[in-house]
């Protein structure tokens, strides 16, 4: 029974990781690649670690596995958001067939603060005037 469960969980995890790797190689755009990495690989790692917990059937191993899974689920979106934000500021282009870029013109160019759009130019001019004074 546990053998069948281990085989099913590890096969599903390996398939998810393989599909994520193929998608990571074939996606046309940095942002799409980041999206692939966060979702599919997190699920695959969780499934394979769960199969390890079932195999050992021990409280210390299970708690260790739960700690790893919790940590990966917490940190993968944070890391993806940080690297996506950095690549947006570096000026990485989106794919040609992308429909829209909702952030366009909403970040201040120098201070990197997020704004709703209209008062953007005035604020930058104000800051420059203050610096001159």
């Amino acid at each position: 029974m546990t053998d069948a469960l281990i085989i099913i969980l590890s096969s599903l995890g390996a398939i998810f990781i393989l599909l994520a790797a193929v998608g990571f190689l074939r996606m046309p755009d940095t942002y799409l690649r980041i999206s692939v990495t966060t979702k599919a690989v997190t699920l695959g790692v969780g499934l394979i670690l769960a199969s390890a917990a079932i195999y050992f059937d021990d409280l210390s191993v299970t708690s260790r596995v739960l700690a790893i899974i919790l940590f990966i689920i917490l940190t993968a979106p944070v890391g993806a958001h940080l690297i996506g934000r950095a690549s947006y500021f570096l000026g990485v282009k989106m794919w040609d067939k992308s429909v829209m870029d909702e952030l366009e013109g909403k970040y201040k160019k120098f201070s990197h603060k997020l704004n709703s759009g209209d008062d953007l130019k005035d604020d930058e001019e104000k800051v420059e005037q203050q610096e001159k004074n």
Binding site: D3, I6, I7, S10, S11, G13, A14, I15, I17, L18, A20, A21, V22, F24, L25, T30, R33, I34, T37, V41, T42, G44, V45, I48, L49, S51, A52, Y55, F56, D58, S60, V61, R64, V65, A67, I68, F71, I72, T75, V78, G79, A80, L82, I83, G84, R85, A86, S87, F89, L90, V92, K109, F110, H112, E128, E131, K132
Partner: protein, 102 residues
């Protein structure tokens, strides 16, 4: 076929192929952000390979190293993105200073 043989002869080759595919993107990745994400992904697949090895050789202490690798992967991603953004910001500041002097 026992569970250990199945994991050793079927799951590990699948994971090895996916590591190779990610490594291709690590080599050809056009922007530096691609390389950072590929590094993160390589370490994350390394965690799964370690856990498969810990099942095959019946050594549960390998999972400690998997935990440490997860910590290091997050730390490296955060540090890379922080310094990339900072470098870009210092370039922008230089541009701004030149613009004001003109």
């Amino acid at each position: 076929m026992t569970v250990e043989e199945y994991l050793y002869y079927i799951i590990l080759p699948i994971l090895a192929i996916s590591v190779l595919l990610v490594f291709c993107r690590f080599v050809i990745g056009p922007k530096i952000a691609d390389r950072v994400v590929a590094l993160d992904l390589l370490i994350t697949i390394g965690i799964t390979i370690i856990s498969i090895y810990s099942i095959v050789y019946d050594q549960s202490t390998f999972l400690d190293i998997a935990m440490i690798l997860g910590l290091i992967a997050f730390l490296s991603t955060v540090a890379f993105s922080y310094y990339l953004e900072k470098r870009n910001k210092s370039k922008l500041d230089e541009e701004k200073r030149k613009h004001n002097n003109d």
